[in-house]
């Protein structure tokens, strides 16, 4: 049967249903597990092999040697494409992806994240 306005049933039902849009800033969007968001670095596992630097498609990650077995990692969030190739390439699993994706900002200097091994544990000097 062909007549115009075939969608009228669903359209009128939608008037009374909840909208499919979620009011984003007021309702947080939750990403699934293993989502490729911002990177996290564990300096205690890093051995300084630099495979992650070689494999990065954009040159976003740099590893600097601070002292023997102590490394500092700088990630340029403006260059990172969140492909997680460095996570896969690292033989010691020193890098991991987090679920954080709301990384936009107004200050470019804040987008160079340095994971400093100088202070204890894994603290971010600038975030």
């Amino acid at each position: 049967m062909r007549w115009p306005g075939r969608m009228i049933n669903q359209v009128l039902q939608s008037l009374f249903k909840k909208p499919a849009t979620s009011s984003y800033p007021f309702v947080k969007a939750e990403m699934p597990e293993k989502y490729r968001g911002k990177l996290n670095y564990h300096p205690e596992s890093c051995i300084g092999c630099m495979i992650c630097v070689k494999d990065c498609p954009t040159g976003a990650i740099t590893i600097k040697k601070l002292a023997d077995k102590k490394f500092q990692c700088e990630i340029d969030l403006t260059r990172c494409i969140y492909c997680a190739q460095c996570v896969d390439s690292c033989p010691k699993k020193a890098l991991e992806s987090t679920k954080e994706f709301e990384l936009a900002g107004l200050n470019k200097s804040k987008l160079k994240v340095i994971f400093n091994a100088e202070t204890c544990g894994n603290s971010e000097a600038k975030a």
Partner: protein, 312 residues
Amino acid sequence: MVNTLFHIFIFPGFLFACVSGLAAEYIDRKLYAKMQNRIGPPWFQPVADCIKLFAKEVIIPQQADSRIFTFVPVLAFAAVLTSFFYIPLWNVKTLSSFNGDLIVVLYLLTIPTLTFFLGGWYARSVFSMIGAARSIIQLFAYEIPLFISILAVAMLADTLSLSEITVFYSKHLWLILINLPGFVVAIIALIGKLEKAPFDTPEAETEIVAGSFTEYSGRPLAFFKLAIDMELVAGSSLLAAIFLPFGLNIHPVPGFMLYLIKVLFVVALISVSRTIFARLRIDQMINFCWKYVAPIAFLQLVLDLFVKGLIR
């Protein structure tokens, strides 16, 4: 004097027309969004759009005729505003009435379409000219069924004055049912006049950018948009007054509520039709109007002649 000024500027003149136009646009967009499973704009969106447009720079293309370009939006705005004076809203009395004001109202509501054509034509850009041409071609398709169906109703009431039509029908309420085919025709024609889907080829966004409004920006565009919004309310009020003239003699406040419900009903019908139909091409639209809509309008005319003879 003060009374006249009040009627011109506050009610049912300038302020009432603008506010109700913006409110009608909000309701239309909110219904459209809800039917598409979305949230839609907040209530102040049309007001915000208006204010934003008034604040923007006006850019007139070099090859356009700037006098006509800036004048026609004001003309459209003024024409729709004037038509409010003759349409009975919740009472059988209008601001001023005389025998023949129905024709004047119909003519005043045609002026916006002519201004779309003039504005688009004198902007002299390819997209505007195509949109303007389509506007006028569409006029030939829907105007005649609209006029015939409205004049059929007027002919049954034996008068051409809007307020007297409403007086007549308030006395013979059952005659409203006879005019229902005319109501359907008039709604379809009103959708064509307002250039909403399925008849929005003059303004087809994906084909000719914005049709006649492509080169408009700033204040002239704000006037055009306001004119279109007010035309929605004026057209709905006209249809409500002619085809649904019941409950017109009750106390002002419930009468006003009833009027608002009638206008809301017509606006809702227009929103639903915008949601469920695709856009028709200009030749398909003319075919449709002349093959299906105009015969029903003529049928309504014949029916009304018949019933008129019966009443006598």
